[in-house]
Each structure stands twice: as structure tokens, then as C-alpha cells.
């Protein structure tokens, strides 16, 4: 069980980091979600792994599992859910206003803020190959 959980955290983190290094917003957001799953599982395990134990003390229970990480995970889930919604909305409006979902900035920043980037202006490093 320890091995299963540890490798799950590891694989989720690795996939998440790989996806975050992409240049388009969609894979990056998926990567962030995977990372937040990884951290939730990790937080769950910080109270030690236990099977079939109550999270609260009862009179007849001999042992109990730590309830605090479960509360922390709940908070972390809520926060990461909200954050994902925000990043999706911001990425969507960035895409709609620039007609382009690249995540890196243009190399050239000499032009004025007002005349914003047109799709043709992205000639900097436009050679990425994630199809």
C-alpha cells in the first residue's frame, strides 16, 4: 500500500510537471490539476496510512486515524478547485483576446501596451511541436 501510494504521488507529480512545461495553456492547466491531485494524496498520507479506522475517538475504538490531514486535504481541494476555475477563465479570456493560447510572452517588448499582440507578431520562438 505504501508503495502504491508513493508511486501514485510520484507519477502524478511527474506527469504534472511534464505538462506544465508545455507551451499551450490547456496542457499547463491539466498539469496543474494533476499536481494538485498529487499533493492531495500526499497530504492524506502525512497522517500515516491506516485502514478501517475511525477518524474520531469513540469509546469502543481501540485506535484511530489522524483526522487533521483529512481536514487539510478538504481545504486544499476546495482551494485548488477554485484556483483551477480562475486559471481556466483567465486563460480563456487571454485566448479570446489574443486568438492564441501560447503561455510565453513575446520576446520583443518594445512596442506599446495599447497596440496589443496580433497572432502574426509571434515570430520569436514559434517552433514548438506539441500537436
Amino acid at each position: 500500500m505504501e508503495l502504491l501510494l508513493a508511486s501514485a504521488v510520484g507519477v502524478l507529480t511527474a506527469c504534472g510537471i511534464y505538462l506544465i512545461l508545455r507551451q499551450r495553456t490547456f496542457p499547463v492547466i491539466i498539469g496543474l490539476s494533476l499536481l494538485s491531485y498529487a499533493v492531495n494524496v500526499f497530504l492524506f498520507a502525512t497522517g500515516r496510512l491506516a485502514l478501517n479506522m475511525p477518524p474520531v475517538l469513540r469509546y469502543h475504538a481501540t485506535d484511530y486515524t489522524d483526522p487533521l490531514p483529512q481536514a487539510l486535504v478538504l481545504t486544499a481541494i476546495v482551494i485548488s478547485f477554485g484556483m483551477t476555475a480562475v486559471v481556466v477563465m483567465i486563460a480563456l479570456s487571454a485566448y479570446l483576446s489574443a486568438r492564441n493560447d501560447r503561455i510565453d510572452m513575446d520576446v520583443d517588448d518594445t512596442y506599446d501596451d495599447e497596440q496589443d499582440a496580433t497572432p502574426g507578431a509571434n515570430t520569436g520562438t514559434n517552433t514548438e511541436g506539441d500537436a
Binding site: 499547463v28 496543474l32 487571454a94 483576446s97 510572452m105 496589443d116
Partner: protein, 514 residues
């Protein structure tokens, strides 16, 4: 138990939903309530500071749960200093925003502003590591809204980068907290400090991992060199007044480093001694150098000031990373200076951008050129640390505190050379922006250029309120210079309190509430 401590968090937390729900379509009412709330916040925080000046550490048990079980708010000298700084900065920025009409360029500015204040105040006051994470998220989610305020493709893309980078930071924060909890079984800072100190030496490998992870998180917030990449693009493309408010956000990172690594992983704790300072000092020196080079290479005013902000964080973190009471006192003095100076420069940058665009090149003369040039000159002097203003005193204190260090020559060299390069960079930018406009060989027909696209936002009659806000920040810097004696006495006492973590632990765990 006085309820005053929680008021800086509760007041914006009530005001923000009220603004959204009740008066979302009435900009004037929003301005009135937001301004009134911020003025009240200044009053509350000053009252709290007066309470903290006595040296007592006040503890507020949320829900009346005793300390290691419930969440506590703790008010010591450091927290009091930071919340007063936040409230004063917020007031100046809010005046500027109202004066320039930035809040009318998008929706919900005032609600987001109040949520931002709530997050910052909470982060400075909390005594619980997980609660610190929650308040980080509150201030971040408000900042996501503020940084894309007004919209525009470039700003939105910079916003996406900022959000993604900070979400990564949040994930790292959770990993760090999970690791600390797994080792110690607590997240209350005072309780953490006790348990870390009592941990047997052969069980500390995981704890050191947690400590370094946590340092990385705070270094992201404080824009320390290898992790500073989010700052220039985000701040330069954000609305400049918002960037001015964010001058306090990098300080949240610096505050967290100072708090965690004096209280929990303090210099006396054997398992982590030398772990943090040895890494942080070179990183801080590099941060200062990189920020300075950025000033020299910036081609837009926003970038210029963003790199100046990075450089001032570098100086600040040099002082913090020494982890001696004298250096920390100097660092706290520099925190006040750096916050005001960075915000001042961002507001001046906005004055420039509104009149002639942000590019550091030749343009025809702009409105109020002389006044803004004088302000830019004063701000640049403060930022670079030249004699009359408080930046000079701050740097002097930092250098004086590093006199006994083995790396003293390196520290002094980096600080002094970077000051010189900063002066050159600011002089270059200032002369291009303000003086080149009057160059007779270039000004062929300046008359009709200014009218259509060069100065899109210049009002017919300049509003007075933005200048009031800018001069208020400048007055803050002058006051910091004039009253540097009392201020540095306060910061020295704060540092002494920080380096006696027993006071904090006793106040929280043994209920030493006044």
C-alpha cells in the same frame, strides 16, 4: 482577550462582499466605502501598533480554542509593523486609483482590493502555518483579479503566467506543510518551534527537506533570483497602481522567511542551523545584481521599476539572510523604505505611461513634465539609495550589520556597485524620458504628435488626487529619513523580540495574554 486583533481581517472581509453584492453598480459609493474602510484600517492598525510597542505579544484564539489545537492570531512588534505598512500603502494606492479613474476601467476593483488587504493582513497576523497558506491563497486569488484589471491581450497573457507560477508555488507550499506535519504532527508555529527543537538528531532528514521546500515557496513570493521570473512580466504588464500595491506582496514572502526561520528553524536550532542563511545569502546577492542589470537594460518604464523592485528585494534579503539581530533590525528598516519607494516609483511610472506611453525613448514633451521629472528624480534617489532619502540610511544600516561577516567584502562590493549601476540606469531612463523631449535637434514638430495617439489618456485638466497620493508616499520616505532614529530603535527592538523566540512560544502556548 481584545478583539481588536482580528479586526484588520474581518473589516475587509465584510466590506468586500458588501461592495460586490449591494453597490456593484455604483462606483461612487464603492469608492466611498472602500476609502472609508481603508482609513479605518489605518486607524485600527496604528492602535494595534501602539499596543504592540509595549513589548507584549498578544494572542487571539479563534473560536476560543486553546493554542496548539485551534488557530491563533499573534500580534508582536513585527506583525504590527507590517500591518501598519500595508494599511498606509493601501491608502495611498487607493487615493491614486480613485484620482486617475483606474477603478472604472474594469469591474470589481474595490472588492478585489479589499480581499487583497484581507489576505495580506491575515498572512501578517496568523500564528499557524496552514492558516498562512490559506491567507496566501486569499491574497493570491484577489491579486489574480487585480493583475488583469482593465484587460488587454498582453496583460491577460502575463496574468496567465502569473497565475500558473503562483499555483505551482501553492502546490509546493502544500508539499512543504505536509512534510512538516508528517515529522512534527503540528502546524501551529509556536508548537512547531518547540517540537523541532526537541526532535532527536537522527530523525531530521525529512524535516530539513520540509524546511528547504518552505524556503523555496517563500523565495518565489519574495522573487529571489532563480525564482524571480514571474515578477518582471507580471508587474510590468499589470496596471501600475496594482503593481504599486503589490510592493507589499513580495514583502509577505520576506516576512514569512523572517518569521519561520527565526521562530521555527531559528539560528539556535541545531538541525537546520546554517541551512538557510548559507543558501539565501548568495541568492540574495545575485538577486540584487540581476535586478540592477535589469534596470540598466529596461526599455519600458514598467520593466524598469519591476527590476528596481527585484533589486530592492535583493538588498532586503541580504540583510535577512545574515540572521543576526542587528542585520534583522536593518532589514526591517529597509522593508519600510523599500515598500514605499517601490510603490512610489510604480505610481510615477503610471503618471508617465498615462501621458506618453511607457517606452523609454524619445517622445515629444508631455503634460506636467517638470513636476513628474522632479518626482522621478526623488524616487530614483530613494530607490538607488543616494544620500538625502531613506534608501541611503537603509543601505548604510545593512552594510554596517554585515561588517563582521566573513563575506563582508563581497556584500559591500555588490551593494555599492549595484547602487552605482542603478544610478546610471535611472539617469539614462530619466534623461531619455524627460530631457530628450526638449532636444532641439529631435523636436521637429512636437505639436501635432501629442494630440492623437501618443498621449491617449491625458486629461484636459490634471487631477490633483494622483499627485496627492504620490506626494504622500514621498512624504512617507522623507518622514522615514527624518525619524530614522525612532524607527530604527523600534526595528531593533523588533529584531530583539524575534531573536528571543521563547517569548513568542510562551505567549502562544502558555497563554501569556496580557
Amino acid at each position: 482577550m481584545s478583539h481588536l486583533i482580528i479586526l484588520p481581517i474581518v473589516l475587509p472581509a465584510i466590506l468586500a462582499p458588501f461592495i460586490i453584492m449591494a453597490i456593484r453598480f455604483h462606483l461612487d459609493l464603492q469608492r466611498i466605502f472602500s476609502l472609508a474602510g481603508t482609513v479605518a484600517l489605518v486607524g485600527i492598525t496604528v492602535a494595534l501598533m501602539a499596543q504592540a510597542t509595549t513589548g507584549d505579544i498578544a494572542v487571539y484564539d479563534l473560536g476560543n480554542w486553546p493554542a496548539p489545537f485551534g488557530i491563533v492570531l499573534v500580534l508582536d512588534r513585527l506583525s504590527a509593523l507590517m500591518i501598519v505598512l500595508t494599511a498606509l500603502l493601501a491608502l495611498a494606492v487607493l487615493l491614486y486609483v480613485i484620482g486617475t479613474g483606474w477603478d472604472a476601467r474594469g469591474r470589481h476593483f474595490h472588492a478585489l482590493f479589499q480581499f487583497q488587504l484581507m489576505g495580506v493582513m491575515g498572512a501578517f497576523l496568523t500564528g499557524d502555518a496552514f492558516n498562512l497558506f490559506v491567507f496566501f491563497e486569499v491574497l493570491l486569488i484577489a491579486s489574480y483579479g487585480l493583475i488583469i484589471h482593465g484587460g488587454g491581450a498582453r496583460r491577460l497573457r502575463a496574468g496567465v503566467q502569473y497565475v500558473v507560477y503562483n499555483l505551482l508555488g501553492s502546490t509546493l507550499f502544500l508539499f512543504a506543510l505536509g512534510t512538516l506535519y508528517a515529522v512534527t504532527g503540528t502546524l501551529n508555529m509556536a508548537d512547531l518551534a518547540e517540537r523541532v527543537a526537541a526532535l532527536p538528531a537522527d530523525e531530521t532528514a525529512l524535516l530539513r527537506v520540509g524546511a528547504v521546500l518552505l524556503l523555496l515557496v517563500f523565495a518565489i513570493k519574495a522573487a529571489v533570483l532563480p525564482l524571480h521570473f514571474w515578477l518582471p512580466a507580471s508587474y510590468a504588464n499589470a496596471p501600475m497602481p496594482v503593481a504599486a500595491l503589490f510592493a507589499i506582496m513580495t514583502k509577505v514572502g520576506a516576512y514569512s522567511i523572517l518569521r519561520m526561520y527565526t521562530l521555527v528553524f531559528g539560528p539556535d536550532v541545531a538541525v537546520t542551523s546554517g541551512l538557510v542563511g548559507d543558501w539565501l545569502l548568495p541568492a540574495a546577492l545575485l538577486t540584487l545584481a540581476a535586478g540592477t542589470l535589469g534596470i540598466l537594460g529596461a526599455r519600458k518604464v514598467g520593466k524598469l521599476v519591476a527590476f528596481a523592485a527585484i533589486a530592492s528585494m535583493g538588498t532586503l534579503l541580504i540583510a535577512i539572510s545574515l540572521f543576526t539581530p542587528q542585520a534583522t533590525g536593518a532589514a526591517l528598516y529597509y522593508v519600510i523604505h523599500s515598500t514605499f519607494a517601490t510603490a512610489l516609483m510604480f505610481l510615477i511610472a503610471d503618471l508617465i505611461c498615462a501621458r506618453r506611453g511607457g517606452a523609454i525613448t524619445y517622445t515629444p514633451p508631455m503634460a506636467q513634465s517638470g513636476l513628474i521629472a522632479a518626482l522621478f528624480f526623488a524616487g530614483a534617489i530613494a530607490m538607488a539609495g543616494m544620500p538625502p532619502l531613506s534608501g541611503f540610511i537603509g543601505k548604510l544600516l545593512v552594510m554596517d550589520a554585515s561588517r563582521a561577516e566573513p563575506l563582508m567584502t563581497v556584500i559591500w562590493a555588490v551593494i555599492l556597485i549595484s547602487s552605482l549601476v542603478m544610478v546610471v540606469g535611472f539617469a539614462r531612463a530619466g534623461s531619455l524620458i524627460f530631457w530628450k523631449a526638449y532636444d532641439p535637434t529631435l523636436a521637429t514638430d512636437g505639436g501635432d504628435d501629442t494630440q492623437d495617439d501618443e498621449a491617449p489618456d491625458t486629461p484636459a485638466r490634471p487631477a490633483a488626487l494622483p499627485f496627492v497620493a504620490v506626494f504622500a508616499l514621498l512624504a512617507g520616505l522623507v518622514a522615514l529619513t527624518v525619524f530614522s532614529g525612532p524607527v530604527s530603535r523600534y526595528t531593533d527592538k523588533t529584531a530583539a523580540q524575534l531573536f528571543d523566540p521563547g517569548l513568542y512560544i510562551d505567549a502562544v502556548l502558555k497563554g501569556g495574554t496580557p
